[in-house]
């Protein structure tokens, strides 16, 4: 517990990094999906 208290900023860093990493990965996936839909439309 004391370890977490002493290193609380690193805990916050890991949590924030994971949140933002998840956000950009999700955004990348949606971007790829929309790109695929646009390609399908163009080839129609």
């Amino acid at each position: 517990m004391q370890f977490l208290v002493d290193n609380s900023m690193y805990v916050a860093l890991i949590v924030a990094t994971l949140i933002f990493l998840g956000l950009v990965i999700y955004l990348n996936r949606i971007d790829a999906r929309v790109r695929m839909l646009e390609r399908e439309e163009a080839g129609r």
Partner: protein, 367 residues
């Protein structure tokens, strides 16, 4: 001057990059997305990873304002080591104080730059280091009395509030374009910008409320800036309520575009003017002496490391906004085109049925 160049430059670069490669409605190239991801991750890592290191005056202000002896970070160079358990630390302003380091397990040598988590024992009137936070740090954030580690929220709260404004003005621009050209694509762009603006407005409110809880003691204080962001949130909500109340597509686009244009000035007033006219808790209020640490022309309202980090956070969040906006607009345009195709084929089917009814199905079946 440097502050203006850094922060203004970061925002301008993001605005240019948001519009330029391929425009706002076309897929962004891979390098653009990688730049956004790298800038965003760099912001998060720097905002939480850089250690705070205070000098003796700020350390004294922080420890005197508290009733306990919670350790605070002290940053300086070890200039002397009279005994094994004692060092003399010189801070960035040239103040020197002896610090008891007997409980710090790491070996410390003269000439090293260190951040020591230190308590000031009031009864004995001496500094005692509890642990070594960092040795020769690349950069440090200042210890700000009254904010301390909570100051890190600046890099998330302020960009969110900025984006809630930028989004409204982008929606305003698209609304003008819609009223001039009457193209549904512009309405799709306006809705996308407004939806993102509402999300960033909520994020600014939530990050602000959490900050307020730990800084001012309550989640909500009805400070002028809190009141104004609440009003902007209501204005955003009313925009979507208005849209959902109008079933006709053309009428919905027209009326909501007029709403976006009419409310642009009040939104500008609520965010940039009102909080500066009246007294309040936020920096930049009428009684705080300047227009806020970011917009104030005085350089020392924001430490140089914070200026760079703040410029980076404004750049990365604005890029993130443009990426989200780009994806949202493209999704909306794909939907719009699909609806048009479906409406077109439904029209064809209806025409086909009319022909069948008029001349008989046998005739139609003939090659």
């Amino acid at each position: 001057m440097l502050k203006g160049i850094l922060i203004g430059g970061g925002i301008t670069l993001a605005l240019v990059l948001g519009f330029l490669p391929g425009g706002i409605s076309r897929a962004k190239p891979a390098w653009w997305r990688w730049l956004t991801m790298a800038a965003l991750m760099a912001t998060v890592i720097a905002a939480f990873g850089l250690p705070t290191g205070g000098d003796f005056p700020s350390f004294t202000t922080v420890t005197m304002s508290r009733n306990d002896e919670v350790p605070q970070p002290l940053y300086g160079t070890i200039v002397e080591k009279p005994t094994d358990g004692m060092v003399v630390l010189e801070d960035s302003r040239g103040n020197r104080e002896p610090i008891d380091v007997s409980t710090v397990p790491e070996k410390l040598a003269a000439g090293e730059r260190v951040i020591l988590s230190t308590s000031f024992l009031r009864g004995e009137r001496r500094y005692v280091a509890r642990r070594l936070v960092s040795r020769d740090p690349i950069a440090t954030l200042p210890l700000i009395p009254g904010l301390e580690e909570r100051a890190r929220n600046l890099y998330f709260h302020v960009p969110s509030a900025w984006l809630s404004q930028l989004a409204w003005f982008m929606a305003f621009g698209f609304a003008i374009l819609y009223l001039r050209r009457r193209r549904p694509e512009d309405d799709v762009r306006a809705v996308a910008a407004a939806a993102l603006g509402a999300i960033f407005c909520i994020l600014a409110t939530v990050t602000g409320a959490v900050w307020a809880k730990f800084n001012w003691g309550a989640f909500w204080n009805w400070d002028p800036r809190q009141t104004s962001i609440f009003l902007v949130l209501v204005i955003y909500g009313a925009y979507f309520a208005l849209r959902s109340a109008l079933p006709n597509e053309d009428q919905r686009a027209r009326v909501s575009s007029v709403y976006l244009i009419l409310l642009a000035l009040p939104v500008l007033f609520f965010i940039f003017v009102l909080p500066r006219l009246v007294t309040g808790l936020h920096p930049g209020a009428a009684d705080s002496g300047n227009i806020g640490p970011v917009l104030s022309p005085e350089e020392d309202t924001l430490n140089p490391t914070k200026q760079i980090l703040f410029a980076l956070s404004m750049f990365s969040f604005t890029m993130l906004f443009f990426w989200m906006l780009n994806v949202r607009i493209r999704t909306g345009l794909v939907e719009l085109r699909r609806r048009r195709r479906m409406a077109g084929s439904a029209e064809n089917n209806a025409m086909h049925e009319n022909v069948v009814t008029a001349i008989g199905s046998d005739v139609v079946r003939l090659p």
